[in-house]
């Protein structure tokens, strides 16, 4: 059953099912998100991961960091791997052939933004159209961090990556970030949300809704990456706080494809310059000649916030 979690004291009673001595970087937000997700439920979990930081770092032979059944197949198919397991589970249940029918099982796919926004996209779309009872969590660190920091379609404009480096002729990536949350909501799935690990209460509420939704659920989780965003490992939570307060990652949910609700409104909205200034990947944007990028980006963030508020108000 998904638990009602009111405070961290209760939350902390969960016994870990994601073990340490995985090889994710110190201060990595991926593992914060995974821990928060797993510890938010008492259900048994079947988890799949697509290729990415999480996968390569948590299953390094001869070790596994997972205390739950966990599978990795390829870059693109975390979604279909778990959808297959879910379909089999349903079929066995229907035929009364479950080995232990009393066990309460949830199906979860966790992959990075490269595997979600780009490489695995058609697979996810298929799973959502077929309506599997599964949750898909995207660990969105806006870059292919596992292979050395190449840009993905989640990388925001102006970020310097190894395939969109900033320098004399370029300000970094030229294209804007893809809006995956809206795309997934357009599938009409019962529940789609954006979360951030630093807002654990918001995250836990959304996970509960997601685990109880009974259909395909998509969660986009902001994952601040100390290595590719280039900030000190101890600052992961600080950077994440500024990201949500600058509305670069607004926290909201969309139910049944349309009903949009904003779940966190910053008391003081910060300028995105504060967010950009904390990270090495945006260092060059602080130069005079790139000021127009920051200005345009701020306008986009404001416009998006306005759009979200209007959608919430209109309830459509």
């Amino acid at each position: 059953m998904s638990k009602e979690i009111k405070n961290l004291k209760e939350y902390s009673k969960a016994a870990e099912r994601f073990e340490g001595a995985h090889l994710l970087c110190p201060g990595c937000a991926h593992s914060m998100i995974v821990r928060e997700a797993i510890n938010a439920t008492d259900s048994e979990l079947v988890i799949s991961s697509g290729t990415g930081c999480l996968e390569v770092s948590t299953a390094v032979y001869p070790y596994t960091s997972w205390d739950v059944p966990w599978i990795h197949i390829g870059f693109e198919n975390a979604s279909t791997a778990v959808a297959g397991a879910e379909a089999m589970y349903k079929a066995l249940k229907r035929k009364n052939r479950l080995y232990q029918p009393e066990r309460d099982v949830k199906f979860l796919a966790i992959s990075g933004d490269g595997a979600t926004y780009d490489i695995g996209f058609q697979f996810i779309s298929g799973c959502f159209e077929r309506g599997h009872d599964m949750m898909y969590i995207c660990l969105d660190n806006e870059v292919y961090a596992n292979t050395g920091g190449q840009r993905s379609s989640s990388t925001p404009i102006g970020a310097s990556t190894t395939t969109s480096p900033s320098g004399r002729v370029s300000y970094g990536k030229k294209e804007k970030k893809k809006d995956i949350v809206q795309i997934m909501a357009a599938h009409g799935s019962p529940y789609v949300a954006q979360v951030a690990p630093n807002k654990w209460k918001d995250m836990v509420k959304k996970l509960k809704k997601g685990f109880d939704a009974g259909g395909p659920v998509f969660i986009n989780a902001m994952s601040a990456c100390t290595t590719e965003w280039k900030f000190d490992p101890s600052d992961t939570i600080d950077v994440s706080d500024v990201a949500v307060d600058a509305l670069v990652f607004p926290l909201y949910e969309i139910e049944n494809g349309t009903k949009l609700t904003i779940t966190y409104r910053p008391k003081n909205v910060l300028p995105i310059k504060d967010y950009l200034g904390l990270q090495g990947r945006f260092k060059h944007l602080m130069k005079k000649e790139n000021a127009h990028i920051v200005e345009q980006w701020q306008k986009d963030v404001d416009a998006k916030w306005e759009y979200l508020q209007r959608r919430e108000e209109a309830g459509v």
Partner: protein, 143 residues
Amino acid sequence: MELRGWDEFEIGSVLFSFNEKVENIPNVQQEDRSYSENNSFQASVAHWRVEKPIFNVDHCIDCFFCWIYCPDSSILAREKEVEKKGEKIMEQSMVGIDYVHCKGCGVCSSVCPTDPKSLLMVDEHDEEERVLANWPKKEGKEK
């Protein structure tokens, strides 16, 4: 542990996390499980650390910020006997750090809200008693 070569595996082979069946895993703490030698719980990343966190229980308010944000499952939250109004009761508390799995990232210290902090990052080779004896005083305003 004896390692097998890439061509010595059966197709579809599995690594088992535990030696025996663990019923009700979400409620069985790590010390009560029988981990297999393939579980990364049996491995150590202590050598990654340049700095280590030191925990000072005297200032801790059991907010569990460190527990929720530790990326390496290395903050230990357990039931502990405490005295409340002259009575001894068991209460969920922050009890310490798992130095086998802690990578020394410093997140726990950075999110600790007390003044002075209840978690401090110090040089890996510094001694706990020395650090505790020289714990900083209340600062008033942060930073």
